[in-house]
């Protein structure tokens, strides 16, 4: 390295670095720089090692749970709950639709019968008044039933979201299993049947010890 080249040496640099940059001794400068870089590398390695150790522990715990119980019960439960909610909401919506389909012909029949009463009467007696009221009631019933039928589309809209969440949980579940499968040996526990052994516990420990752990 050519130390005589113009470098921006300002007061923000640490004093030892400033001294080195101003030093005319080329080899000494490089040696000192090497020491500094190595110190930094060691700090990085220590951090990486700690991270590897933490991950190793976490995966071992998870792997233990997964291999003891298969798919974590809580994931299977969550999916079943969503499926139940989907089915219950569909049943509830169908019941409302049953009701609407049962009532609609009744409203139509009321309209027809009231119309006949109106034909028989002179249009001013009590029967006529009641018949007109019945026609109006049947009409508002039909409108109300139509609105109620349409309102049941909440089941479709919420159901689609439930299906998306269930599918997301499925993805998380298989990713989790894949992670455990891949790191099964690293975790030190029996990997699921399809597991491919990437490394042994010894390999993992040797690797970790290379980083000083």
């Amino acid at each position: 390295m050519n130390v005589s080249s113009p470098l921006a040496i300002d007061d923000t640099l640490p004093p030892e670095l400033r001294d080195l940059l101003n030093s005319p001794d080329g080899p000494a400068f490089e040696q000192a720089l090497d020491v500094m870089v190595r110190q930094r590398e060691q700090r990085l390695f220590r951090a990486l090692g700690q991270l590897a150790r933490d991950l190793h522990d976490a995966v071992r715990r998870l792997g233990g749970e997964l291999t003891q119980e298969g798919v974590p019960g809580i994931v299977a439960d969550a999916r079943q709950h969503l499926q139940d909610a989907l089915e219950m909401s569909a049943q509830a919506a169908h019941r409302s639709l049953d009701f609407a389909e049962r009532m609609r012909p009744q409203a139509e029949s009321l309209t027809r019968n009231a119309g006949q009463v109106l034909e028989w009467t002179n249009g001013n007696d009590a029967a006529a008044v009641l018949a007109r009221e019945a026609v109006a009631f049947a009409s508002s019933c039909r409108d109300g039933l139509a609105d109620m039928v349409l309102a049941q589309s909440w089941q479709d809209l919420t159901g689609q979201r439930i299906k998306k969440v269930a599918s997301f949980i499925g993805t998380v579940e298989s990713s989790l299993l894949e992670l455990v499968r891949l790191t099964g040996a690293l975790a030190g526990s029996e990997a699921p049947a399809s597991a491919v052994k990437v490394s042994s516990q010894e390999d993992a420990d040797r690797l970790l010890s290379e980083f000083g752990f």
Binding site: L97, E101, R104, V149, L150, Q152, D156, Q160
Partner: protein, 140 residues
């Protein structure tokens, strides 16, 4: 126009993976006066295609999000098949993003309804479809 459409013994195929939605669409069609109409149902695009190939229909009302074959794929399959390509397709879906509406338009959809919708909207879109069919001289 509307009267003519109603008077015809139409056959409509309603495609949706949710049985509630198929029933809602069926109810609305009856409510709009399609009482002489034969309404059949399919729960995905694949089953819809099988039905469309085996018997004549006058209109398809389809959802977008379905397993196996989605509504947009069903639409494309209909347009790609010589015997079916002129069949009117009304899309009824919760998908309301611009790209999807454009994709449906490009694939040749005849109408697009965003859920939740009202009977008035359904009638409006159906009227437009029948008007266009009448104007083009193709019998529905």
């Amino acid at each position: 126009m509307w009267r003519e459409a109603l008077d015809k013994n139409m056959k409509i195929l309603v495609v949706d993976d949710f049985s509630t939605m198929r029933r809602i669409v069926r109810n609305l069609l009856v409510e709009l006066g399609f009482t002489n109409t034969l309404i059949q149902e399919a729960d995905d695009g694949e089953n819809a295609m099988t039905m469309l190939r085996s018997q004549p229909f006058d209109l398809v009302v389809t959802d977008w999000n379905m397993p196996n074959m989605t509504g947009i794929d069903l639409l494309r399959a209909i347009r790609a098949e010589a015997a079916l390509k002129g069949l009117p397709v009304l899309m009824v879906t919760a998908e309301n993003n611009r790209d999807q509406i454009i994709a449906a338009a490009q694939a040749g959809v005849n109408g697009y309804i965003v859920k939740p919708f009202t009977a008035v909207t359904l009638k409006e879109k159906l009227t437009k479809i029948f008007e266009r069919i009448a104007a083009s001289g193709v019998s529905a």
